[in-house]
């Protein structure tokens, strides 16, 4: 009786796993399938859309390479992401170091406060930010989007970099200072190089956040000629394009995210369990 029961739960568990895998993979499969679809597999004239294209082709990707709007948007996305990484790391890393090394009263409250800035709803802050940015000519500009994105990512940088600095023994700073290095020198020349792999993870995190961020980018770029890739997707959507074009752009947008997510998965897990994932 007990054995039979065990087998029963095992079957239910197996079905659960399979259903879950199918649900998780379905949209991803659809994305890749459509991006490889030829015209006849998308515009079927009433027949059901095939689960695999009749004539798989990479012509959509060839098309993207010669599509000016796409190439410009990809470049803008990259510029915004790199600029956000620069701003977020330059501001966030020293702060994280100070929060870990200087144990003055209230420092943990300050750390919690800075990290929980990310809980402030982005959709609430977007209108005031655009209104303020309008005055400084930051709307419809790469710098404006990068500033908004670094505002979102600095709390994450502080969180990740604090974890990195906590693993570096205090003796390292102390010895450098005994040997006559200034605090600035020992931070920039000794601590930061040691922390570099962890900081690289923080940089990737900022990249991911900026690369697929939609709300700020959309509000800041909606009526201009500049677009990041997510904004381009939305702008294209309003001219009811063929689905395989949408899917091809989606693939190009997703691939860096998929690769980098698995690179920083370890950090994401600790982040997620601490509630630090968006």
């Amino acid at each position: 009786m007990r054995k039979k029961n065990m087998r029963g739960t095992r079957v239910i568990w197996l079905i659960g796993i399979i259903v879950m895998i199918l649900i998780v993979l379905a949209p991803i499969f659809v994305m890749f399938k459509y991006s490889l679809s030829d015209r006849s597999s998308v515009v079927t004239g009433g027949k059901p859309i095939p689960l695999w294209p009749y004539h798989p082709t990479v012509e959509q990707f060839h098309g993207l390479a010669t599509m000016d709007r796409f190439m410009t948007a990809a470049l803008i996305s990259l510029e915004v992401a790199l600029l956000s990484i620069l701003i977020a790391l330059v501001i966030g890393t020293p702060a994280a170091y100070a929060l870990v090394r200087y144990r003055f009263p209230g420092v943990m409250v300050l750390a919690t406060l800075l990290i929980s800035v990310r809980l402030f709803p982005d959709i609430v802050s977007v209108v005031p930010i655009v209104e303020v940015f309008l005055k400084f000519r930051l709307v419809n500009s790469v710098l404006g989007v990068a500033l908004a994105h670094s505002l979102l990512s600095i709390p994450y940088v502080i969180f990740i970099a604090m974890g990195v600095f906590e693993t570096i023994p205090r003796e390292l700073d102390e010895q450098a200072q005994i040997l006559g290095a200034s605090k600035l020198y020992s931070f920039t020349r000794i601590i930061v190089p040691v922390a570099l792999p962890g900081l690289a993870a923080a940089a990737i995190y900022v990249f991911l956040l900026s690369w697929d961020e939609f709300i700020f980018a959309y509000f800041l770029l909606a009526f201009g000629d500049l677009s990041t890739l997510p904004v381009l997707l939305k702008k294209i959507l309003s001219w009811t394009p063929q689905h395989n074009l949408l899917a091809a752009i989606s693939v190009m947008l997703s691939i860096p995210v998929i690769i980098f997510t698995f690179v920083v998965q370890k950090y994401m897990r600790t982040g997620a369990t601490a509630g630090a994932v968006k």
Binding site: A95, D212, F219, A222, T261, F262
Partner: protein
């Protein structure tokens, strides 16, 4: 005073390198708060000057579009938040036991996190297309692998508020599933095996151990998921924006007020209302969970 100067001198370097981040984050936050409150409570008079007023909130309370968005948002949160928790729990319970290939399955379950939200929304847009999307094809039994006709006519998913918001919710829950799963998983793994063994030796069955051990000890993790996810569901923008354009929630109504009505004052008023609702609901959830935990642990 005499104690402050040596304190500053001792920590000078730390204070200096901490300042930019504090200024940046707190400064931005203060600017945002001042601006959003300032916009929401002022109006431009005909001669171009600003005057303080609460007229936007009064106007909104009489605006049928706002009322509809308000009701939709309440439903979206009431259904969406538990969905996020339940799906995350199912996923976590599926992968918590030891089995061959668990690492791979877990990596697959984390995949939604690696798909940008806007891409997920576009994929649902394609899958739930009308009349010829995949979901309609499958439900109408037009594929040989699933020859059951569940519906006679294709459903116009984006043409009805109910379906459009359901599809948005599917997207939201799909994309957030890994986060809820990881938090629940961490909670499950922190429960020691001894407690289960003790319960089993004393003759408890699976249901009893679940109700008396797993669930009470899992409440902190569940509380984390509920609080964080409810905030996320309240402010969800991308999925309803792409998939339920004609049926705005409060978050998407902000966009409409700003871009279509061209009224930053009205948009800010909606944003403030949304912010108030988020804070209120977080407090309520917090206290309800505290009470619930007491009830569960008392037994």
């Amino acid at each position: 005073m005499t104690r402050i100067i040596p304190f500053i001198r001792r920590n000078l370097f730390g204070i200096i390198i901490l300042t930019p981040a504090v200024l940046y984050l707190v400064g931005f936050l203060l600017i945002i708060l001042f601006k959003v409150v300032g916009l929401a409570f002022t109006q431009v008079s005909p001669d171009g000057s600003l005057f303080p007023t609460a007229v936007h909130f009064i106007e909104l309370s009489q605006n049928p579009e706002f009322k509809a968005a308000f009701t939709r948002t309440i439903w979206f949160v009431l259904v969406g938040t538990p969905m996020e928790l339940i799906v995350g729990m199912i996923a976590a319970f599926l992968v918590v036991r030891e089995f061959k290939g668990r690492g791979i399955i877990r990596s697959v379950f984390i995949l939604p996190l690696a798909i940008p939200a806007i891409v997920t929304a576009i994929m649902l847009y394609i899958m739930f297309d009308f009349p010829g999307g995949h979901i309609n094809d499958i439900l109408m039994g037009r594929h040989s692998f699933f020859p059951f006709q569940l519906i006679a006519e294709p459903v116009n998913w984006r043409g009805s508020g109910f379906f459009a918001l359901m599809v948005s919710m599917v997207g939201k829950v799909w994309r957030d599933m890994p986060i809820s799963m990881l938090i629940i998983l961490a909670g499950l793994q922190s429960i020691s095996k001894d407690q289960y063994e003790a319960a089993t030796t004393m003759g408890a069955n699976t249901f009893q151990t679940f109700m008396k051990i797993t669930l009470p000890l899992l409440t902190p993790a569940m509380a984390t998921v509920l609080v964080l996810r409810s905030i996320e569901v309240w402010k969800e923008f991308i999925f309803p924006f792409i998939l339920a354009g004609s049926y705005p929630l409060l978050a998407t109504l902000i966009e409409r007020a700003y871009h279509e009505w061209r009224d930053p004052h009205e948009a800010s008023a909606i944003a403030l209302i949304l912010l108030g609702l988020i804070i209120l609901s977080t407090i309520i959830i917090f206290y309800v969970l505290k009470w619930l935990r007491k009830q569960l642990v008392k037994v």
